[in-house]
Every structure is written in structure tokens, then in C-alpha cells.
């Protein structure tokens, strides 16, 4: 049975290909709570691990709309609040307001997803069980890791480690939580 003191089992591979193969195998074995760690994005993993989340993009859209309308509102209000003849130009000079409106659209369309991405990723989080794993620092260098999380229904210390060893990893270790 999965000990609560465990975070999961971490297998280290040399190449992206090996990781991809391992991930496939783990899925077939029925593991669902899988995570992979790579020095650079390996896009094939998304489909294999069934990773699906478009909220970041939605945040972009929301931010954009917010910026756009906020900008228009601001400019229209300030001119409504201080209506004065400036060079005989119209009070609500939308053509002129368009510029700032565009800038704020871009600004918020950029800030929302950027910070949203960090939030969704639970970052910043300076400490994490994985950092305790001896080999893990290589995850940012040249090694590719597959982790079966301890809260996976099928997780079992011995079986899972045995299964992972079967995938020809460089190493396998249990990560305490």
C-alpha cells in the first residue's frame, strides 16, 4: 500500500525517446498519476500523458478584453469629467483613443497569461519533494525523468519500482514527500 510519506517513484532516462517509451508503457500499465521532467519541452509527452489545459490562453483573451475596455472607459470618462475644447477636436476622439486602448489591450493580454501560467503551475514554490531526489538536478541538464506519483491508485512501492526498473532507466529511486 502506498505509504503517505512517499511522493512517488522517479525513473531517470538518458534520452527523450527513452522517456517517451517509458511514459507510453506506464500509461498502458494503467498508471494515471504520471509526471515527466525534462530539460526542455518534449511535446510528444503532452498527448501521451493526456496533458490538456487551455486556461492560459483563455486568460490571455480575458486580459485583452479587460485592457481594451478599461482603456476606452478611462479615456471617455476623463473627457466626460473634464470636457474642454482642445484644438477644436471632438471631445470623444475615438481615433485618438484607439492608441492607448491598443496598448492596454496588449499589456493585460500579456500580464494575465504570464502570471496565470505561474499560478496554475503552483509557482513560485521554492521547495518541492522532488528536489530531495539525488538525480533530480540533472532534470535541468541532460536527463529525462518519469515520476509515478504515490497517490496513483495502482501505486505500490515494490511493484512500481520493479515496473520502472523494467523500462531500462539509468536509475530509479523513491522520493519521500
Amino acid at each position: 500500500m502506498a505509504g503517505p510519506e512517499l511522493y512517488g517513484a522517479l525513473a531517470q532516462f538518458e534520452t527523450p525517446e527513452a522517456l517517451i517509451a517509458a511514459a507510453k508503457a506506464a500509461r498502458q500499465k494503467g498508471y494515471r498519476r504520471l509526471d515527466a521532467f525534462t530539460p526542455f519541452p518534449v511535446h510528444q509527452l503532452n498527448s501521451i500523458l493526456r496533458l490538456h489545459d487551455r486556461r492560459v490562453l483563455w486568460l490571455g483573451l480575458i486580459g485583452g478584453c479587460f485592457g481594451f475596455f478599461a482603456a476606452l472607459a478611462m479615456q471617455i470618462f476623463t473627457n466626460y469629467d473634464y470636457p474642454i475644447n482642445v484644438g477644436g477636436r471632438p471631445l470623444y476622439a475615438l481615433s485618438a483613443f484607439a492608441v492607448v486602448a491598443f496598448e492596454l489591450t496588449v499589456l493585460f493580454a500579456a500580464l494575465f497569461p504570464a502570471f496565470g501560467m505561474l499560478a496554475l503551475n503552483g509557482l513560485p514554490r521554492l521547495n518541492h519533494p522532488l528536489f530531495a531526489a539525488a538525480a533530480f538536478p540533472l532534470a535541468s541538464r541532460n536527463r529525462f525523468f518519469l515520476c509515478v506519483l504515490a497517490d496513483d491508485a495502482r501505486f505500490d512501492e515494490k511493484d512500481t519500482v520493479f515496473f520502472l526498473k523494467g523500462l531500462a532507466p539509468v536509475s530509479v529511486e523513491l522520493v519521500p514527500s
Binding site: Y82, I84, N85, V86, G87, G88, R89, P90
Partner: protein
């Protein structure tokens, strides 16, 4: 730069009492100048130039501030040296506020200034006892409210912090008590010698009081002699008049009756005591002439470009001898006995033909004038010709002489001879400065020192003061009582607009003291004069005269005189002489030098050259070409054995072989600003009534930095100034400019200004008035050099055509107050916006100084405070108009249509619960303009003057095609020349 500033800093605070007294005791501010010297040490400058080439000019910034410091410092000195502390800001003439003085509510005094002996009638606006604005008296028969630059700037003469503040003996401040004692002994001496050797030197005067007092003195001291010295006022004409009519008379012109004016080198509209009256009269026949009258045509032949020449229908530049030829030709044409026609060049005869035909066409309505500085025989020819044409009594008439003493034997040369002969025991110089304005008359400057007793009375410790044992400070004419006559002969009683700021005495107090009175009252002498003139009913007429601003009653009767036919003129020199003609002229902004210490006038651009802060040696383009001279080159002018050096200024339209020198600069004393620049033309002038001479010119080493406010004068084929002709009397109207912008709802008023270019004579009165009204700062020469002058209203001067004889134009350019203002659109902080009544407003305290407005302004009428230009001296602040905020560093400013006046009028109207009256509001420039070229008013009122002018056929807008819809627009100039419209 850092070093420079350190020196400055270390300089300013080093100011202990001992040194200050030392300074004061030698009479000049040497301690301060020595600081200047320190900065000016070549070593330092070269080091700086080497280290940071572009930092060098910064020094001058510092020295500009240094000048301001000096102005403040000299006030401080006053406190230390004079016995009373009399800073301008203590000038309230009363301790407890009288009930008639309401703080903030201006009081207006009808009074007058004196200028070259004549009075200039003014209304002085005072707030809390401080005069803050002078304007022409609107009801005065002579000037009708017109001003000139001198009148406007007189205010700053009053507040000049370097005025003499207490009597001095050998430069050491003394009390008036000491003066009284000395005078007592001197009077004893004079009485014993029956006035033998007592000489008084003054300018000419029209003041009955002064005349009365001089007569009194003459009675006391029979042998006393009263000499005249007026370096800037020619005497030839008076001499000619006396000869022609057998008695001294004064000539008067009625330009408003002239359909044709022919001027031989007579600057009818130029600066001087007659400018306002004559310009006013001339202008009634220009622009939109009164129905029934035609426009007057004006033919000018002159050696040096003048205001009159600039507005002439036909102008002929010719060297002084050729002027004689022209007069001779006229004499021959109008068959004066023995006058024969000389041979004329093609241009000359063409000009003569046109002039003569016009003179003949309008008998009794024409006028021939000859410059008052030209030879008497030429003058007399003019009198005779005018008589022959029936102009005498119509356009020109003669009266009893106004100026006393009239031109006679009591000249400066007579005085000089007597001094030479040792016949002069006491010389009292009153309000003139012969050792500056006539150094050549006294063979050597030290000659004055041979006179045992020398007294000088004046407003500054000037060159003569430093040569006199006694220097007695005179009051400014705004401080004392006096009287006099305007150029039309009308009497005015001058009442003070402020009590004396310093321990000064008025001219009349001084004369009374010479006659033996102790501490006479300020108004005693004047009252005495008029008590005897008014007789009984004195009080009413006195009060009436003071209220009115002049004494009622016709004062001058035309004399029925016949001119003796003039003798045949001397043969003209054939011109084989290769030397040049050097002509002397008073300076248009500092006159004969008396205004040289007024920074505001120094920075006022000379009408034609647009130079500031210096005088230059004007040469013709031809001569400059021949001698390979360019502006600013140093040259040496030599007359006989006398030489002077100065910078060249190439003057288009100047006669080929004529070199023009201007008076008023190269001062050695009389104030830091006065000493600041230029050359001294008097140094090579062979007498105080010499106006032209033969001389030579040579290039010498060096370049001089001249500060001009306009670098390009050629109109380059643009149509900024437009013209109409009799053939094409209207300007084609532009098709209505379409705009994408919505019309803003019209306000209750729509302010607009129309400027009639056909009336503008470029006299600068408007600029001066604007500067005073709007607290426009003086920035100093170095800033003008960098193109940072602050004038809200500039008078652009253009010429077209051949450099030798171009057509010249003046165009006053204030803010255009565009309805579709590009400037407003550029401001990110709403610091310049449009008021409902159509004024392009500048919100100083909102401005952050992005200068976008100025970048976008097609007319470049905006001015920026690059540094802190505020004048923080007491005197500077005393002169400020409290209704106009003083702009701080980093703020944009510009013409506001005198918005403070508009607001004041609105408030007044609201209080009376009435609408604004038609054309009630008058801008400062409009009020000052002697020719009424400027009209301001409400476009919503179709009956307003400006609306009428906008319907004129001559109406056009500057840079119309930009679609800025200016509210300031122009009326095209009439082109009466036979040439076609440029």
C-alpha cells in the same frame, strides 16, 4: 562650467560692509566688475574653451544672472551708502491706508513724461502707489492715446535700481544738508560776481516753470549764461526757419491733410518726440481711409532705411550729396530764383517725376519735407516750394517757437570756447551728459576739470557726473511736479504718480535751490507758475488741468509768414572724393544714450535690423560686397583723426556709399546695463549738431557676436505679407476650408484681432506695451543670441526684391489663437486649451514643459522659460503687473489677448449687470499703437470694428491653407508703387 559656478558662488556672498563702503566711495561698482574680470580672464576662458568647448557660452548665462545680481546689489548698496533705506517696495507714500486707496484697485493719474523738452501726455496706472503701466492719454489732442517705446519703458527708468539715490561729492554720498551749505557759499560767490562765469547747461525745454525759474536766476545773476545741448535733436531746421522767416518759429505738419508727401531724408514716422502725433495723423490716410479722402502717397529719398522709408509708396536710396541734387532738381522744377536742374541718374529722375506729378496734382494737400539735419539752404528751398504749392497754412504751418532756449548763440561750442578761455567759474549741468554725448567739443575730456566748480544733476552717475565734484540726483518725471508743452503746443501740468523713491529732487526744486530757497516743496514752483497764469479761479483750473491731463484752451496760433526765397545752394561735390559718407542717427531703442540702462529697451529689437543689446555700423550691401564684409566683422571708421571700432551690419536698402552710426552705446558710466555693449559714435562726431561727415572704413581683426531676433529677412517668395493694388483691390477669398472636426458650440463672445499691415510702421510701441503689461522677462544678450527672446508679440520685418533698394514690410505676429490649434492637440496635460470665447489659453501652473505645443505651432509664437528668468530684484518686482502671473522656470508662455483685461471687463460688466460694451476691451498692443493698426473685438458682434475689418477686401489669414483658422488675421498692405505686387 562647475568651476565657473564656483567662482560665481564664491563671489556673490563675499560682501562685507567695509568693502561695500569702499565700493560706494569710489562711486562705481568696481568690486563687482572685478568679479566679472575674474570670469573674463583669458586664461580661464581659454582653459574652459579647451576643456568643454560648448560649456564656454554657459559662462555668459552666469554673467547674465550676474547682471541681475548686480541690480539687486546696487539696491543693497543704496541702503548702505544712502542715509535712508529706500527700496522700491517701501514706496507706499503713506503709513495708514487712506480711505481712497483700495488695495488691488488701480488708480489712474493723468500726467506726462518729458522727452527732448516736449511732454508726452500719459495715463499712469498705479496699484498700491506703484506705477505699473503708462499709456498715451486717449483724449490728448496731440497723441490721442498713442504711445512710443520710450513712453512705455519710462516705467523701468523709474524703477532702475542703478539710479542715483543720494547726492554725492567726489563720489562720496552726502546729505542734501551738505548740498544746501555748499550752494549757500556758491550763491554768495555768484551774487558777488553778478553771475560772471556761472553757466547752466540743459537740454531744450518747453516748461513754463523752468523758463520762469531761469529768468529768476538771470535776474539774480545777470551775467549768468544758459547753454543748450541736445545731442539727438538737429538744429539746422530751426536755424533755417529763423533765417527764412526772419524770426524763430516752430514748424508744424498736418500729415492727415496730405494726399501726397515727399520726404527728403525726413523720418516723419521715426522715433522721436514727434513720432506719435505724426504717425497718428499719417495713418488716418492709410488702410481704410476715411471716405472722401484718398490714401496719401509717400515718396521718400533717404540715405539710411527708416520707418518712413519702409512704408513709402516709392523709396529712393541715395547718398547725402544726391539728396541735395534731388532738392536742387525740385527747386529748379518749381523755378526757385537761380536754381538750376542738376543731372540726375535714371532712377533719381524717375522718382522726381513721380514725386513732382503728385505734388502738382494735390496743391494745398501735398507736402515736401526735408530732414531737420540737412543743410539750412535745402530746408529753405522746401519752405519756398511748399509756399509755392499753397501747402503753407494747409499741410504745414508755423507758430511761435516751442522750445526754449531756441537755437542761438548759447551753444555747447560757445561754452567750450569759454571754458578754454577760463571764463567759466561754475558749470551746472542739468539732466544731460556732455562728457559722453559731446566729448569732441571739449578738446580733451579733462577740460571740464579746469572749471573750479562743477555740479551735475541727473538720474545716473554718468560720465559727466564722474567729472563733477557734485552729483545731485534728479527725480524721475513720474516722481516730481513739472509742466511743459506737447509737440502741438498744448500745455500739460505734470503731477507725480509716486512719491520719490530715493533722496532725489525735481528739476524745479533744484532751480529754486540755486535761487536761494531752502528745501523747496515738490510742487511749489509749478503751482507758483500756474497761479500767476491762471490768475483768480486758480483752484478750479488747476484741479481741472490735473484731472484732464492738459490745460484747456488753444495754445498755438498759426503765424502768417512769408518765406524769403532761398539763396542758390552751394555747388554739389562732384563725388570724385572716394571717401564714404558717415551719417549719425539716434538709436531707435536707447535714443541718445539716456535710456541705455533700461534692459527692457536694450532687448527691444531695433525696428529694421532686429538687433538687440548693441549698436552696429550699418553699411550697404554694395559696400559690404566691395569690402568683403559680413555681419559681425569688426571694422574701424575714421573721420579726420578720430577713429572708432564696431561690428558691421549689412543693411539692405542703404545708400551705396553711406555708413550709418547710431548713438547711445559704448557708455563708460551710468549703469552696468548701459556699459554692456556697443560702440560710442559720439567719439568721432565733430560737434553736437553734426549729422554727416566724410570718412573711411577699414576691416580690423575680430568678429563680434551680435544678437538679433530675426535671422532671415528675405520673404523668399512666400506670401506672409500680402499686398493689394488699385488694380486688384481685394485678396481672392480662399474656398471655405473643409474640416473633419465638429464645430464647437459658439461661446458668448468670439475674440479676434485684425492687424492692418498698411498702417503698421514697425515702431515697437506694441511690443514694449506688451512686455510691460504681461510681465515679459528680459533674458539678456546671450539668451537672445541663442534664440530665446521672450517677446510675446514680435514685429517680423521682411523685404523682397533687389538688396540695393528692396521693398520692406512689417508684420506684427502675436499668437494667432487658432480655432483648430495644433498646439493644444499636442499637450499631454491640458496645459494649453481653448476657452469658450475662443482664446487659446496657456495654463502656466499646469504646464510641465514638454514644448510639444511650440514644436507644433506653425507660427512659432510660443516662448519658453529655459531658465528661471524671473527678475527677483525689488525694483523688478515693483514694476510687475499684479494681474498677470509671473512665469517660473520650465513653463511655456505666449500672447493671451491680454486675458486679464478681458476678465476685468467681464467682472465689471457682471457687477453692473450689463453686457460688455462694443469694442470695450482694448489689448495692450492695440492701446499703444500710434497708428491704430491693431483692432481687437468680438466676432459674434457683426457691428464690432474687428468684424467690419474681417469683411474688408484686404482681409487674409497667415498660412491660411493649414486650416488652423487663426483668430488673429491681417489686412493686406496697399501697394501704391508703380511696380507690380510682389
Amino acid at each position: 562650467m562647475i568651476q565657473a559656478d564656483d567662482i560665481m558662488r564664491s563671489a556673490a556672498p563675499r560682501f562685507d560692509l567695509a568693502q561695500a563702503r569702499a565700493v560706494a566711495s569710489n562711486g562705481s561698482l568696481q568690486f563687482w566688475t572685478s568679479i566679472e574680470d575674474l570670469i573674463d580672464q583669458d586664461g580661464f576662458r581659454t582653459w574652459l574653451a579647451a576643456e568643454f568647448p560648448s560649456a564656454a557660452p554657459l559662462l555668459d548665462d552666469s554673467s547674465r544672472r550676474q547682471v541681475l545680481k548686480l541690480m539687486g546689489a546696487s539696491l543693497l548698496l543704496a541702503g548702505l551708502t544712502g542715509c535712508q533705506d529706500e527700496a522700491a517696495n517701501h514706496a507706499l507714500p503713506y503709513v495708514n491706508q487712506p480711505d481712497y486707496a483700495v488695495p488691488g484697485v488701480p488708480r489712474h493719474y493723468a500726467t506726462a513724461l518729458t522727452f527732448e523738452g516736449y511732454v508726452q501726455p500719459i495715463i499712469a496706472k498705479t496699484i498700491a502707489g506703484r506705477p505699473i503701466k503708462l499709456d498715451g492719454h486717449p483724449d490728448h489732442p496731440a497723441t490721442r492715446g498713442g504711445s512710443d517705446a520710450f513712453m512705455q519703458a519710462a516705467l523701468f527708468g523709474l524703477y532702475d535700481p542703478e539710479r542715483s539715490k543720494s547726492p554725492t561729492y567726489d563720489g562720496i554720498p552726502v546729505t542734501w544738508g551738505a548740498v544746501d551749505q555748499t550752494l549757500a557759499t556758491l550763491r554768495e560767490r555768484w551774487r558777488n560776481r553778478r553771475g560772471e562765469g556761472l553757466r547752466i547747461l540743459t537740454g531744450p525745454t518747453t516748461s513754463p516753470t523752468m523758463i520762469r525759474q531761469m529768468q529768476a536766476l538771470a535776474a539774480l545773476y545777470p551775467q549768468m549764461r544758459w547753454h543748450r545741448h541736445a545731442p539727438a535733436m538737429p538744429q539746422q531746421q530751426q536755424a533755417a526757419l529763423a533765417q527764412a522767416f526772419g524770426r524763430p518759429v516752430t514748424q508744424h505738419l498736418r500729415l492727415d491733410r496730405c494726399a501726397a508727401i515727399v520726404s527728403i531724408d525726413d523720418d516723419l514716422l521715426g522715433p522721436g518726440p514727434h513720432q506719435v502725433m505724426q504717425a497718428r495723423a499719417w495713418s488716418t490716410r492709410r488702410g481704410e481711409p476715411t471716405p472722401g479722402q484718398g490714401r496719401s502717397s509717400l515718396y521718400v529719398a533717404e540715405a539710411v532705411p527708416s520707418l518712413t522709408g519702409t512704408v513709402a509708396s516709392s523709396r529712393l536710396p541715395c547718398d547725402p550729396p544726391r539728396l541735395g541734387a534731388l532738392i536742387q532738381a525740385l527747386g529748379a522744377t518749381f523755378s526757385l530764383a537761380g536754381w538750376t536742374a542738376p543731372d540726375l541718374s535714371e532712377a533719381e529722375s524717375h522718382w522726381i517725376d513721380r514725386a513732382v506729378s503728385d505734388l502738382r496734382q494735390f496743391p494745398g494737400q501735398a507736402l515736401l519735407t526735408v530732414g531737420p539735419h540737412l543743410a539750412p539752404s535745402w530746408q529753405k528751398a522746401a519752405f519756398a516750394i511748399n509756399e509755392a504749392l499753397g501747402n503753407a497754412g494747409e499741410t504745414i504751418w508755423y507758430s511761435e517757437p516751442l522750445l526754449v532756449p531756441p537755437s542761438d548763440t548759447e551753444t555747447l561750442d560757445a561754452l567750450a570756447n569759454d571754458i578754454e578761455a577760463g571764463a567759466v567759474d561754475t558749470l551746472i549741468v542739468i539732466d544731460c551728459d556732455p562728457s559722453y554725448t559731446a566729448p569732441t567739443v571739449f578738446d580733451d575730456a579733462a577740460m571740464l576739470d579746469r572749471i573750479p566748480h562743477r555740479l551735475h544733476a541727473g538720474q545716473h552717475a554718468d560720465e559727466t557726473a564722474t567729472r563733477s565734484q557734485w552729483h545731485l540726483p534728479l527725480s524721475h518725471s513720474l516722481e516730481g511736479w513739472s509742466d511743459g508743452r506737447a509737440v502741438d503746443g498744448t500745455y500739460s501740468i505734470i503731477q507725480p504718480a509716486i512719491s520719490p523713491l530715493y533722496a532725489t529732487r525735481s528739476l524745479h526744486q533744484l532751480l529754486d535751490m540755486l535761487a536761494g530757497q531752502q528745501d523747496p516743496a515738490n510742487d511749489a514752483a509749478v503751482r507758483a507758475t500756474w497761479r500767476e497764469r491762471f490768475g483768480d479761479n486758480f483752484d478750479n483750473r488747476w484741479t481741472d488741468a490735473l484731472h484732464r491731463g492738459w490745460v484747456e484752451g488753444k495754445s498755438l496760433q498759426p503765424l502768417a509768414l512769408k518765406a524769403k526765397s532761398p539763396p542758390v545752394p552751394l555747388a554739389l561735390d562732384a563725388g570724385e572724393d572716394q571717401s564714404l559718407h558717415i551719417v549719425f542717427r539716434p538709436d531707435p531703442t536707447v535714443w541718445d544714450g539716456r535710456f541705455a540702462n533700461i534692459a527692457w529697451l536694450q532687448e527691444l529689437p531695433k525696428p529694421i535690423s532686429k538687433l538687440t543689446w548693441d549698436n552696429a555700423i550699418a553699411v550697404s550691401p554694395a559696400l559690404a560686397g566691395a569690402r568683403a564684409l559680413s555681419n559681425g566683422d569688426m571694422i574701424e571708421v575714421e573721420i579726420g583723426d578720430r577713429k572708432l571700432q564696431g561690428p558691421v551690419w549689412i543693411m539692405p536698402g542703404q545708400a551705396a556709399n553711406t555708413v550709418a552710426l547710431a548713438f547711445g552705446y559704448g557708455r563708460r558710466n551710468g549703469g552696468e546695463i548701459a556699459k554692456s555693449g556697443g560702440y560710442d559714435a559720439y567719439a568721432i562726431r565733430a560737434g553736437d549738431d553734426v549729422w554727416q561727415a566724410r570718412g573711411t572704413l577699414a576691416r580690423v581683426e575680430g568678429q563680434y557676436q551680435l544678437a538679433t531676433t530675426q535671422q532671415h529677412h528675405r520673404m523668399d517668395g512666400f506670401d506672409f505679407v500680402r499686398e493689394v493694388t488699385a488694380a486688384h483691390p481685394t485678396i481672392p477669398k480662399p474656398k471655405d476650408a473643409a474640416t473633419l472636426y465638429p464645430e464647437w458650440p459658439p461661446g458668448d463672445h468670439a475674440w479676434a484681432m485684425a492687424i492692418d499691415l498698411d498702417r503698421c510702421i514697425g515702431c515697437n510701441a506694441c511690443i514694449a506695451a506688451c512686455n510691460v503689461e504681461n510681465n515679459v522677462p528680459v533674458v539678456g544678450k546671450d539668451q537672445v543670441v541663442r534664440g530665446r527672446e521672450m517677446l510675446w508679440l514680435r514685429v517680423d520685418r521682411y523685404y523682397t526684391g533687389d538688396l540695393g533698394n528692396p521693398r520692406s514690410f512689417f508684420q506684427p505676429v502675436p499668437c494667432m489663437h487658432c480655432e483648430k490649434a495644433p498646439c493644444e492637440m499636442g499637450c499631454p496635460v491640458h496645459a494649453t486649451v481653448h476657452s469658450p470665447d475662443g482664446i487659446n489659453q496657456m495654463v502656466y501652473n499646469r504646464c510641465i514643459g514638454t514644448r510639444t505645443c511650440s514644436s507644433y505651432c506653425p507660427y512659432k509664437v510660443r516662448r519658453f522659460n529655459w531658465y528661471d528668468y524671473r527678475d527677483t530684484t525689488d525694483a523688478g518686482q515693483a514694476a510687475k503687473n499684479p494681474d498677470v502671473s509671473v512665469r517660473s522656470r520650465g513653463v511655456m508662455e505666449k500672447c493671451t489677448y491680454c486675458t486679464q483685461r478681458i476678465q476685468a471687463a467681464r467682472v465689471e460688466a457682471d457687477k453692473n449687470n450689463q453686457p460688455l460694451r462694443r469694442d470695450e476691451i482694448v489689448t495692450a498692443c492695440q492701446q499703444a499703437c500710434p497708428t491704430q493698426a491693431i483692432t481687437f473685438g468680438d466676432l459674434n458682434d457683426s457691428g464690432s470694428a474687428v468684424s467690419k475689418l474681417r469683411r474688408s477686401g484686404r482681409h487674409y489669414a497667415l498660412l491660411e491653407d493649414l486650416g488652423t483658422r487663426p483668430r488673429t488675421t491681417y489686412l493686406a498692405r496697399w501697394n501704391d508703387s508703380d511696380g507690380d505686387v510682389s
